[in-house]
């Protein structure tokens, strides 16, 4: 049986979206996500809430855990097409952050249409307990620290390369059990990693 999604789809999608929007507008700062009951076992309730908020049949999804339980849940609740090639995805969900695929395997958009790119949602255990990354850029007053863990080694170099593509690039959402923090392409890692 497939569990229910949002109890109140209109207001829960709205509050989840506002947290994602605030997180994207203030990179590195965590914002709380209420989560949704009955998510598949490999997804946090927060990740599932984000999926319900952003996905539908116009937003192809790539996921690193293509188990039937997850795929059936995604298809039933969002109608999002699940793609096997990361570069075809509007959104990607990564449940095993240590094995985050190279950012270059996702779609960075084109110079004409940099918005046609992949947003990668990375599930991590913590947003504050890892090695700190010091961030600067739009949305940040001075400097902001984000310390997600676990993350793959060499992520900082990948983020530098991603920043160099601007305005093309990959946008990242780090999701813990109850919070989301964003690392959009516009941000630079000035220290750490």
């Amino acid at each position: 049986m497939i569990e229910a999604g949002f109890e109140n789809p209109v207001t829960e999608a709205q509050s989840t979206f506002r947290s994602i929007m605030d997180a994207t507008a203030r990179p590195g700062s965590p914002f709380s996500i209420a989560g949704v009951a009955g998510a598949p076992s490999s997804l946090y309730p927060s990740t599932a809430a984000i999926a319900l908020t952003l996905l539908d049949h116009d937003a192809p999804l790539w996921i690193d855990d293509p188990a039937d339980e997850v795929l059936n849940w995604v298809r039933f609740h969002t109608s999002a097409p699940v793609v096997t090639l990361a570069a075809d995805a509007a959104f990607a969900i990564v449940t095993r952050p240590q094995s985050l695929p190279p950012l270059g395997s996702f779609n960075p958009g084109t110079l004409d249409y940099p918005d046609v790119s992949t947003t990668v949602i990375v599930q991590v255990e913590t947003l504050t307990g890892g090695a700190p990354l010091t961030l600067a850029g739009p949305g940040i007053k001075g400097r902001q620290t984000l310390a997600p863990a676990p993350i793959p080694s060499g992520l900082t170099q990948q983020l530098d390369a991603n920043r160099a593509l601007f305005p093309r690039g990959i946008d990242l959402l780090f999701v813990s059990a109850g919070e989301v923090a964003a690392l959009p392409r516009s941000v630079r890692v000035v220290e750490g990693g």
């Binding site: 789809p9 209109v10 207001t11 999608a13 709205q14 509050s15 979206f17 506002r18 994602i20 929007m21 605030d22 994207t24 507008a25 203030r26 908020t53 952003l54 996905l55 539908d56 116009d58 937003a59 509007a90 084109t110 110079l111 004409d112 249409y113 940099p114 918005d115 790119s117 947003t119 850029g137 739009p138 949305g139 940040i140 007053k141 601007f166 305005p167 946008d171 959009p184 392409r185 516009s186």
Partner: protein, 290 residues
């Protein structure tokens, strides 16, 4: 005939998702115009359909909404849009800039500095800053892709050659975080500096032209200019006749047909707040007619 039923904040959830995805991309690429599948709204194109769609997509039951047009809460279109959201979303509304979580605006940025957590939603008629220099979308998209803004600089330079100054007084182009040249919507250039390093998130919605763009908080927004002809703000050289403000943008009001006129704050909330805190609420500064 089926009587239509409407969702919270009018738009259906699928439309909101589409707009929300566009808003996230817009924030991630400051100043870039994200195309979106703008819907037919129950008000005409050109009357704020882009702003209304953005507001409808972000608004929640706990928000406090303020709507202004020309700086004022009581102009007809502001009243109309505010009522629209009262009716379709049941949200609380306010005229006080500091109490609002979401402010939808046409043509002005409030005088009161905005705070973190606030969202300013602009209604935009022509989002493309290069449109009046090059009418074709295929061409302007290429220019943005290559960051080739020579046409804009040439236009501003020609202004100086012809008029001795840059002859753009509203919708004055800006460069966002050193990359995209952006149209600030037809706000007077007086408001341009407020966009720079602003604590609030600024979202721009153009319904007819189907574009959404954004300026995240604390983002560098620079008005285009030349070293020897630097950007200058403009306001009428007068005080507000109601509150005495000498730092606010002023509306000229014609008082008779013999050339009589006076100046009042365009931002009605700013003006009212100043009058409420003044010793003599309606004090008229010296040298101005009562």
């Amino acid at each position: 005939m089926n009587a239509p039923a409407y969702n919270f904040a009018y738009l259906d959830e699928q439309t909101k998702r589409m707009i929300r995805r566009a808003i996230l991309k817009a924030i991630a690429i400051p100043g870039y115009q994200v195309p979106f599948a703008s819907r037919e709204m129950p008000m005409p194109y050109g009357w704020g359909t882009g702003g209304v769609q953005v507001t409808a997509s972000i608004l929640g039951p706990n928000d406090v909404l303020k709507v202004i047009d020309q700086g004022s809460d009581d102009t007809t279109n502001a009243v109309s849009i505010r009522k629209f959201f009262q009716r379709t979303a049941g949200v609380a509304t306010t005229t006080h800039t500091r109490d609002a979580t979401v402010i939808q605006t046409r043509h002005r940025i409030p005088e009161q500095a905005l705070a973190e957590g606030q969202v300013l939603v602009f209604q935009v008629p022509i989002p493309e800053p290069l449109r009046f220099l090059e009418p074709r979308e295929t061409e302007t998209r290429r220019m943005h892709a290559l960051a080739d803004y020579s046409l804009m600089h040439l236009k501003l330079y020609e202004d100086i050659a012809r008029h001795g100054r840059i002859s753009t007084s509203y919708a004055y182009p800006v460069k966002v975080q050193g990359r995209y040249v952006m149209d600030p919507s037809p706000t007077p250039k007086f408001d341009n500096p407020k966009m720079n390093d602003c604590a609030a998130l600024q979202l721009f919605g153009a319904g007819r032209e189907k574009r959404i763009y954004a300026i995240p908080p604390y983002t560098a927004v620079v008005s285009l200019d030349f070293e020897d002809h630097p950007f200058e703000r403009y306001r009428h050289d007068a005080r507000c006749e109601l509150c005495g403000a000498d730092d606010s943008y002023l509306d000229e009001v014609i008082t008779d047909d013999r050339g009589g006129r006076m100046f009042v704050c365009s931002d009605t909330d700013y003006c009212e707040a100043r009058r409420a805190t003044a010793d003599k609420p309606h004090a008229v500064p010296q040298g101005y007619p009562a």
